[in-house]
């Protein structure tokens, strides 16, 4: 589903991604770990060309993303959902308008069909009562859920999550993580999840990679990575455990 070869991205002299290569199979959930500033979010943004990489190759659904023109790129983007760290709900629109925004523009649904889709997706994220609320009236967790609902309403083949549980309490984080897993199973989506949250990763991940020094330095299942004797991984995951335990306590 996703193949990335030798991806490079630098901001002036600061090389963020230096020769990143990875593959994600159809229906797989890949979690991307890494220290802050190692280019995890940049990697996601390069995949949908919100940022242009300096070199490399990105293939999504057999299409070479970097060689697509705008029309072709937008056709591909319609098949990709993106949950931003801040949820990025359009704050001048109500929840209903946020959800119908992509539907109006890309599909020929009747108003009744649109309404049914909105209700169905809000039921999936257990927030039907928020349908007429404005984003400013929602809590952080609710915003994430609505953001998730907006991303999946078009039933994308690929979902990209940029730190889906950041800033949420451990219980809400867990709920969001299970929700992501459930949606992934029911819609048979492929997912790439950038996170620092080990609990979230344990729930979601089929496989994980760790970015370090601009490269994919480690790869494996969560138990493999967390039980590794590699000094960097030991250090990295011990911090993750400490943070997690602190949050739970």
């Amino acid at each position: 589903m996703v193949e990335i070869y030798n991806l490079k991205k630098a901001f002036n002299s600061n090389i963020v991604l230096d020769d990143v290569s990875l593959k994600v199979d159809k229906g797989e959930n890949l979690v991307v770990f890494g220290r802050s500033g190692t280019g995890k979010s940049v990697l996601l943004k390069c995949m949908v060309r919100l940022m242009e990489p300096d070199s490399g190759k990105i293939i999504i659904d057999d299409k070479d993303v970097l060689s697509l023109d705008l029309k072709e790129l937008n056709n591909l983007r319609k098949q990709i959902g993106f949950l931003f760290q801040s949820a990025a709900l359009y704050d001048s629109m109500s929840v209903r308008q946020n959800l119908e925004f992509p539907l109006i523009r890309h599909f020929n649904f009747t108003p009744e069909e649109r309404e049914q889709k909105i209700i169905k997706v809000l039921e999936k994220v257990s927030l039907l009562e928020a349908i007429d609320k404005m984003p400013s009236e929602l809590s952080g967790g609710m915003k994430k859920r609505i953001g998730l609902a907006r991303s999946i309403i078009t039933e994308p083949k690929l979902m990209l999550y940029d730190e889906p549980t950041t800033g949420l309490d451990p219980i809400t984080s867990k709920e969001i993580s299970y929700l992501i897993l459930e949606l992934q199973k029911s819609l048979n989506m492929t997912s790439v999840v950038v996170t620092h949250d080990l609990l979230c990763a344990e729930i979601i991940a089929d496989r994980a990679i760790v970015l370090n020094n601009g490269r994919v330095q480690y790869e494996g299942s969560i138990p493999e990575l967390t039980s590794s004797n590699d000094p960097f991984l030991k250090n990295f995951f011990s911090h993750e455990f400490i943070n997690e335990n602190k949050q739970v306590n």
Partner: protein
């Protein structure tokens, strides 16, 4: 040594400001070209344009009403003693009418519109930029430039002339109040005197230039907001600089447009 360091820092700051200025001019030019490339291409986002026109018109209506009324009133109060010195008080409605229709109405309305709307657009788009809402729109395969920028520039371009015509009438009403306070003049006489002096040809260039002013307000506000960086600090900067730049551009373009009008119609 110290003098040398401070003068080189000063030169550097001038260089940076000049760089910023030229980058802004290039950015505004690119935005303009992109606007004209997109504005004629469907989807036309009529609902958004109508929504912005309503919002911008309603948002600005109270402030332009008060300002227009006071400007008309004060202008007549200031002009009356000068004309009285030459025994030309009968020309008061005409001279005030011409000033309001040709220059004061359009420029004052545009400047207030710039202060109210350009900063609003700058702040709104700036906050959308820093909270990744514009990125979210782009990634959902909707062109944010078309949806956010083109609709706002279009709405500003067409709502300002309507506001200007309204302000001209309000200012003339204000002027009438001032005239009545010092002279015994009926509304019929005042209206006839204004209509006798102000020709239709006076109003056309005055109102026509507000299309350009409205375009400038929408363009600068959108550019500043759309290209905002550095979080909330950047949003604040986008909002303030949008007002300063659009106000200055309105005055500069006013000068240019008056010159062009006089060149095309020397008797104007």
């Amino acid at each position: 040594m110290n003098n040398k360091t401070s003068s080189s820092a000063y030169l550097n700051s001038i260089e940076n400001r000049l760089n910023e200025f030229f980058i802004m001019i290039a950015g505004l030019w690119t935005f303009s070209v992109q606007f004209f490339r997109y504005v004629f291409v469907p989807p036309y986002e009529i609902y958004e344009i109508r929504k912005h026109m309503n919002e911008l018109g309603i948002k600005t209506l109270p402030i332009v009403s008060v300002t227009g009324f006071i400007i008309g009133l004060v202008l007549a109060m200031q002009t009356q003693p000068v004309l009285a010195r030459f025994g030309a008080e009968a020309y008061l409605p005409g001279s005030v009418g011409i000033s309001i229709v040709r220059e004061l109405g359009p420029v004052i309305t545009a400047l207030i519109f710039a202060g109210r709307v350009s900063s609003g657009i700058g702040a709104e788009l700036g906050s959308m930029r820093v909270t990744e809402q514009i990125d979210a729109m782009e990634v959902s395969a909707v062109d944010p430039f078309k949806f956010l920028v083109v609709t706002r520039i279009f709405a500003c371009t067409f709502i300002l002339p309507i506001l200007t015509i309204y302000v001209i009438f309000i200012a003339l009403a204000g002027a009438y109040i001032a005239v009545v306070l010092v002279q015994n003049m009926t509304i019929e006489y005042y209206t006839n005197a204004v209509l006798y002096s102000v020709e239709f040809g006076d109003a056309i260039p005055g109102v026509a230039k507000t299309f350009v002013f409205g375009y400038i307000v929408g363009l600068v506000g959108s550019y500043k907001g759309y290209t905002a960086t550095n979080g909330t600090e950047g949003v604040g900067r986008a909002s303030t600089t949008a007002v300063v730049v659009s106000s200055l551009m309105i005055l500069i373009f006013d000068m240019i447009l008056v010159k062009i009008t006089l060149w095309l119609w020397p008797t104007f």
